[in-house]
């Protein structure tokens, strides 16, 4: 099912808030699909979910779980 813009924005906000996506300094906010897929893969792997790079139901459910407000160091690229 195609993702609604709100769902996609919520997911990108989550990936940004918890360090899976890095807000680039020099270019505007929009991220390439590759960045988002890579960020989703990092999140899915750290959450022991099937690593698809897609924003599937299991991934969205996991993003709704209560958690700590600190970032996660699980995307090697952003960690650097």
């Amino acid at each position: 099912r195609a993702l609604g813009p709100a769902e996609e924005k919520a997911a990108v906000d989550y990936l940004l808030q918890y360090g899976y996506l890095q807000k680039p300094l020099e270019v505007p906010d929009d991220f390439s699909p590759e960045d988002i897929m890579e960020a989703l893969r990092a999140f899915q792997e750290a959450s022991e979910l099937p690593v698809s790079g897609q924003l599937d139901e299991a991934t969205k459910a996991r993003m709704r779980q209560p958690r700590c407000g600190l970032e996660d160091p699980f995307n090697q690229k952003t960690l650097k």
Binding site: Y18, A46, Q65, P66, R67, C68, G69, L70, D72
Partner: protein, 427 residues
Amino acid sequence: YLLLGRWRKKHLTFRILNLPSSISSYKARAALLQAFRYWSNVAPLTFREVQAGWADIRLSFHGRQSPTCSNTFDGPGKVLAHADIPELGSVHFDEDEFWTEGTYRGVNLRIIAAHELGHALGLGHSRYTQALMAPVYAGYRPYFKLHPDDVAGIQALYGKKTPETEDEEEEMEVPIVSPVPIEPGPMPNPCSSELDAMMLGPHGKTYAFKGDYVWTVTNTGLGPLFRISALWEGLPGNLDAAVYSPRTQWIHFFKGNKVWRYINFRMAPGFPKKLNRVEPNLDAALYWPLNQKVFLFKGSGYWQWDELAQTDFSRYPKPIKELFTGVPDQPSAAMSWRDGRVYFFKGKEYWRLNRQLRVEKGYPQNIARNWMHCRPQTPVTNPSFGATTSSTTDTTLESTPSAMAPTLNQEHSPTDSIVDTILSATD
């Protein structure tokens, strides 16, 4: 694990600035104090509470607005809490969460606090989803303990907890026992006080309770008197009854219409509870090893309780005299002792019962003389202990280690170190 920073010192102060409204302040404090203990049990760290002024680690609750934190929360669910890394020390919890203890409902304050303290001590998030430092809350776990990855991370920062550091801490350490501002009652005289309770506790130690104080009774003398709340944090004085069950390792204390449960010196989650299936204001309690049941006494009646089964109390209380032949009603204390016999205490006297629960010939005898070593200077034979001693009336500490010297569980926590002091002194 991920290391984000560390404190240059290992003896830290903390202050609890406010508490949530969804849980009693008593339970909330107990949860926060236990959260510190998880870390001080495995690393050479000590945490001392201060009631005012500056503290290294400051715990507080705020919601969507906060005058001091730019990182506001988002209402129930989603983000539960956050913390700064060393050496900043702020730890914030979302006050809009339903904070709980001892239940699967809501969000367990103790586990979340332990996670946030992990950050405040320098740990980042762990890749192990079952680790405490995993980013997502894995829910309430009744027998929670740190994951090996959590332990490896904190020890990478502060080293392992070794006997030397424990000794060093003994001098330095102020236990995480917040100063209880309640003035203790008068210190009792073991030689002239009617006992509130007697208990054969873990590691075969005999405890006598009177007023706000507890002391140990050994073959060679009495231990020093300590405030009950210094050993069993959160327990009041003037207890009605106390009983340790080797079957469950549980210690139950009774007072009024409440019951407290401890494992060693740590209160079990969810306690104290209301006594609602036996009468309040009990007189005494004992564990009978022959049928592994706990007996509760009040007036002329008793209840037999199976700790691990749903007990039908509809046919209780039963008359004490039907089962314990020759003992008085309204005992002040009772216990099964190491010699396989049952003892009842009342006033200045005690009764010894054989395995058939029948009072033995020559009883009652005098408690002060035969249990509390309070006798004249001249040497007398002590029928209870079979030894001749000529002790004095004041509590002399013997150096001979008791064969029952306790080996407290490896996880020493500050309260345990108090116990260490007591037990080593007593022995």
